[in-house]
Symmetry: C2
Subunit: 432 residues, 2 copies
């Protein structure tokens, strides 16, 4: 062919970045589009939200990661529309971009089940800004409590509600428990941070419902040790400023709480809707595009959709879970499929290798289900630490994260406890 095969990848997350890296030696010309200039290691966002790590520790500049990959260029841009007939991507920044193969991996955001106005009151944890915002809310709650004379209001300030007991909810609740019971000890003069009430609400009958029941029990015990109160079979029916209303056993209860965090459902990125309309592909209830076994769209072998925004049936008929390892495997798979296709070869359908799931519950407690073995406690925590460090892109990040963790571990200290961003003063005028 006269000009190289043009590949456009939308999204520099686990899926998109791994697709690009896998195409390193393919005879293609890749453009990786992202609204952000960095790849984010989302599984550790909760550490930033609780002051254990700095944003830069879990983010790697995309240009730095791909600087030596000559067939790839990175473009900071926002995709407005996709024209699958003309094979063009429409950008907010200037003219569009033509492609021969399109790889879409723009992930998911939080699902408020139609109650969009809840998002401001109970933020979710998906971006660096979400994390620093949640960090601000958590730390400010203690600061306001220290100033608050009214006991009822002080109690509300020290009540933290986490909605959803999946891995993220469990990890958030666990680290907030650590923060209150260990890190902030002796930090205040009028309140005792250990009196904080940390509520973890779950709609099903156990925490970590996607894990084996045995591990759920272990996780619940570890959470209890950190002062986290778990309430299962509990549905949130309303969120107000400074309060959440729940239903449990047909009883409605209003819980005054200064800080409400959302870790419930996920909703695929809006691009999935655009693709579905354009190609006639179906969406599932989470808004994910239902893809072919090779992750392409029906009738459009040149369009791949993967990661959290794709609904891909596994061998067992169950959809592949929306976790980082799945997105990484799918990215690598799509890269291989395309390379082979350009050589005129075919590739068997995507098969998800489930290496198991893990969740950490604060200091040295974790649960792991590797399929062939299930364990918990310190071994699971070390395994979790090891695996996350392996996946952290960029050697410096690994080194800094390990150092910061060991330091936090031994001193029980969290150094990144900064209240910054919105609501925090931007200039020192009238500072005091």
């Amino acid at each position: 062919m006269d000009r190289p095969h043009r590949v456009v990848i939308i999204g520099g997350g686990f899926g998109g970045l791994n697709a690009a890296l896998t195409l390193k030696r393919a005879p293609v010309q890749i453009t990786l589009l992202d609204r952000r200039n960095f790849h984010l290691f989302q599984p550790l966002l909760y550490q930033v939200a609780t002051g254990g790590l700095s944003p830069a520790n879990i983010a790697a500049p995309l240009r730095a990661v791909l600087r030596r990959q000559k067939n790839t260029e990175v473009l900071l841009a926002e995709v407005l529309d996709i024209n699958v007939t003309e094979r063009r991507v429409l950008l907010r920044e200037g003219d569009g971009l033509g492609y021969d193969t399109l790889i879409v991996a723009t992930g998911a955001r939080h699902h408020y089940f139609g109650k969009h106005h809840w998002e401001q009151l109970a933020p979710g944890l998906k971006t660096i800004e979400d994390a620093t915002d949640i960090r601000r809310r958590i730390l400010l709650a203690f600061e306001v409590a220290e100033r608050e004379a009214d006991l009822a209001r002080r109690r509300a300030c020290l009540t933290f509600v986490i909605v959803g007991a999946g891995p993220t909810g469990v990890e958030l609740a666990g680290t907030i428990g650590e923060l209150a019971h260990i890190t902030l000890r002796d930090n205040f003069r009028r309140i005792n941070p250990a009196e904080a009430c940390i509520l973890l609400l779950e709609g099903t009958d156990r925490v970590l419902p996607s894990f084996p029941p045995k591990l759920s029990i272990k996780a619940a015990r570890a959470l209890a040790r950190l002062g986290v109160t778990v309430q299962t079979n509990t549905i949130v029916i309303d969120v107000q400023p400074d309060a959440v209303t729940v239903r449990r056993a047909d009883q409605a209860e209003r819980i005054p709480a200064h800080t409400i965090l959302w870790a419930a459902g996920v909703l695929a990125s809006p691009l999935s809707g655009i693709l579905a309309k354009a190609t006639g592909a179906e969406l599932d209830r989470a808004g994910r595009v239902i893809v072919q076994p090779d992750l392409t769209l029906p009738g459009h072998p040149e369009v791949f959709v993967l990661g959290d925004m794709a609904h891909c049936k596994g061998a067992d008929g169950k959809p592949v879970p929306g976790v980082a390892p799945a997105a990484i495997q799918q990215g690598q798979y799509v890269g291989r499929v395309l390379s082979r296709r350009l050589r005129g070869e075919t590739t068997p359908p995507f098969h998800y290798k489930d290496r198991g799931s893990m969740a950490t519950i604060g200091r040295s407690a974790a649960v792991a289900d590797l399929g062939w073995v299930r364990f918990s406690g310190l071994p699971a925590w070390l395994a979790w630490l090891f695996i996350h460090l392996i996946y952290l892109i960029g050697f410096q990040n690994r080194l800094l994260v390990l150092l910061q963790w060991s330091w936090n571990y031994y001193t029980r200290n969290r150094a990144a406890r900064l209240i910054t961003g919105d609501g925090a003063p931007r200039s020192p005028e009238a500072r005091g």
Copy 2:
């Protein structure tokens, strides 16, 4: 006396924090007020603004620093007014606070000489938010240039103007030079970051005017090596979006520039005006309160003002410079004066020990004037590194900063190159 002597300290910067720490064993009850929950190591802010360090590396939570100092409580609050007759501080958060001794150290912000609207176009570097905002502007300039087809506009995108060649201006210009020539090498496909034009504008006839002329010459040479163009005897007469107009040798010139940074003058915090009006103390042209030789206000021995917001005559009649070491010495002095006063002892006037000044110009270049010896190059850079690490509060910070620096030094990499905050998407919806 029936109740302990109440000391209110406004501002947790170098002055206020050191006053509190010096009063550790004094029979007083201290309340440290700050709008932020952390002490900021301002001399390294430019490293955050250029992606070399993370905010948490140069900030220490005030509560963590003072957790074991039982006679001190920290309150996150904003001071609206000071009533020196009733000896009360009025807070935005709830009722006021009575004091027996007041220590005011709320620093300074940037001086736009009446042109307040310039602040949005040419931000200064005083807070963490300033630093991440400037980091965003610098990195976005390269991203926009990569997308820009029009050569004139691309040139403007790659033009960085720094106004004011004091230490901060020199350090900013030097690190932007490094960023363009070393860090971002190979990061782009359409532009060459090394073609960036970095202009350092100075009103006087040399860079670092507060340093000995010899060191100014050395600094100018080091800047030139990093691709920084220095323009002395140059006054900014107007700032527009994407351009700055300067006067040099009675010639006005308009310089198109996407990024304009302000490091010119400083203006004392507005609290100085409130104090002056209340006590009849005078203000100098930078809005600083002119204090007595013991750093108190005339007629108000119970009110101390120090740091960047105080104008204090040195032994030589010249005002004590607005640098960190001066604020630290003044904080310790005020602590001693008060302890001795409570024991009925007097203290000689404040004497500033000038340990000299230093500035760094990027990788392994710096100039130092320690009074008894002046040096530059690598020795000065190492001395600068050593002294800054000693002053960094919190062992972890020192360790992480040292690690990050050595890493940056050897890899010529800057890991914290994240575009975050305003203008950066907050949720991954329509991410791409």
